[in-house]
């Protein structure tokens, strides 16, 4: 099964079944609603499905996956009103150092100290690259 391909990276295998299964299931679900949704909506749903698959595959062991699942579940429930934009409050922009930038990129990164931030980033990169490869393969297969 997995042994068929000599994969030098030991980390890549265990999470892939979950990732692929979940994502493909989500894709098919979105698929079926294709007639009723615009391309932009679908792309948004697919993107969200991609991140959810990542987070599900990572499980609750990782802080970023927990934070991401929370955020997504929250977003799906809370309706965004037009008046929500922070146009009124002026945001003071601090000078961002690199750690801050990384914290913004990583889900749940604000509350971590630097060493755990690095660890979570490593895991996030693993899953993110796996997801990208999966999606690329799907697209490649569809376009020949």
């Amino acid at each position: 099964m997995k042994g068929g391909n000599p994969n030098p990276n030991p980390n890549s295998n265990p999470k892939k079944p979950l990732l692929a299964n979940h994502f493909i299931q989500a894709l098919t679900r979105i698929n079926l609603a294709a007639q009723t949704s615009s391309t932009r909506q679908r792309s948004h749903c697919i993107k969200r499905a991609a991140y959810v698959s990542m987070a599900c595959a990572a499980g609750s062991r990782r802080a970023w996956s927990r934070a991401m699942l929370q955020k997504i579940r929250l977003r799906s429930r809370v309706l965004r009103l037009p008046g929500d934009r922070r146009s009124i409050v002026s945001v003071v922009r601090r000078e961002e150092n690199r750690a801050d930038v990384l914290r913004k990129l990583l889900p749940g990164g604000q509350a971590m100290e630097f060493s755990s931030l690095l660890e979570e980033t490593a895991s996030y990169i693993q899953y993110l690259s796996a997801q990208v490869r999966l999606m690329q393969t799907i697209v490649d297969s569809m376009f020949g």
């Binding site: 099964m1 890549s12 295998n13 999470k15 892939k16 792309s43 060493s115 393969t137 020949g144």
Partner: protein, 348 residues
């Protein structure tokens, strides 16, 4: 400091870090008292420095000199919770090794052995071994500038793999600051550099880069590019999806789609894939934008939604299966016997 010198006449070199640590703790006590507690400051290197100061003050306040041998265990027990027992034993083993020559230290050794019996229980035993090994690891690692005694070198050879513990025991090397803060800082820096090395392996093209700043830049760029790729690919998938839908209808025979039974559906996959393989690739050659609706009708209702794309995708990927195997698709046994030599699991 002078108190310590009295005690450890022969082992001045070995005592250096401990001295400094002890100094920090600001004990006031007699010779015996401070010598007893000299063993304990090994806690220092641990992350939880606040704990250590607390326990020392507990001990410092409650231990008169004469009663120290007997009271020490009880106080120690009292002051420490389960986690700390790991550290305590670490100290014991630490002292067992290099300081056996010193007679006061022998006393301590016996005391702490006795203490161990008080502390008890077999759950302690295995962590104790780990502590032994770990402490010896640290001891040897930290003794760069020191001469290894014969006993130490023997302990060197005894070192097995130190199992992972929650606490990182650090020994200040020769010539380095032994301040509690700087030790903790060193631990933190080592953690960070270890994680940066991990990241260096993950992010392509980072091998030449050194220095935290550039590495971080590269990492940030990489994460951003991956996220952009996800977005781009999801747009692509959204664009293609309508065709996918139609293709499914074309490929799968109606009875397969409407089957509720997992087994038969799985078998149906096998058959469908034999058929669909050529069909689909024929489709791929033609214009993707044009959807050839089957004559049988517009909508084939899919009773089991998850089955259909699974049937389609495996056939498509028959050529690409070598790419997918690392992806870890696992298949149902009936399908496995068919043309799918790889692995695809239908999670229904």
């Amino acid at each position: 400091m002078s108190i310590q010198r009295e005690v450890s006449s022969g082992n001045a070199a070995d005592w250096d870090p401990l001295l400094a640590m002890d100094h920090n703790m600001s004990f006031i006590g007699s010779v015996g008292f401070s010598s007893l507690l000299a063993g304990v400051p090994e806690f220092h290197g641990v992350d939880d420095s606040s704990f250590s100061s607390k326990s020392f003050s507990v001990m410092a306040s409650s231990l008169p000199l004469s009663e120290s041998p007997t009271e020490f265990p009880s106080v120690a027990d009292h002051g420490m919770d389960k986690d700390l027992k790991g550290k305590k034993r670490k100290v014991i083993s630490e002292f067992g090794a290099p300081h056996a020559r010193c007679s006061p230290m022998n006393k301590i050794q016996k005391l702490e052995v006795g203490q161990q019996k008080n502390v008890s229980s077999e759950s302690m035993k295995s962590p104790r071994e780990n502590d032994d090994k770990k402490s010896k690891n640290e001891l040897n690692a930290g003794c760069n500038g020191h001469k290894l005694t014969s006993k130490q070198s023997k302990d060197n050879s005894e070192n097995g793999d130190a199992k992972k513990e929650d606490y990182i025991h650090v020994r200040a090397k020769r010539g380095q600051a032994t301040n509690s803060h700087s030790l903790a800082e060193r631990v933190r820096r080592e953690k960070i550099s270890e994680r940066m090395r991990l990241l260096q392996d993950l992010v392509p093209g980072c091998n030449k880069l050194t220095g935290k700043a550039m590495m971080l830049d590269e990492i940030i760029n990489y994460v951003q590019s991956l996220q952009r790729q996800v977005e781009f690919l999801s747009m692509k998938l959204a664009a293609v999806n309508p065709e996918m839908n139609f293709d499914i209808e074309q490929i799968l025979p109606k009875d397969i789609l409407q089957s509720q039974d997992g087994n038969s559906a799985a078998l149906g996959f096998g058959q469908a894939m034999n058929i669909s393989h050529q069909q689909f690739h024929g489709l791929m050659q033609t214009d993707l934008g044009i959807c050839n609706m089957p004559s049988s009708g517009g909508m084939i209702r899919l009773n089991n939604h998850e089955i259909s794309p699974m049937a389609q995708i495996p056939s498509v990927w028959d050529h690409d299966i070598h790419n997918l195997v690392p992806m870890g698709f696992i298949t149902n046994p009936p399908i496995a016997s068919k043309e799918m030599n790889g692995s695809m699991k239908v999670e229904l």
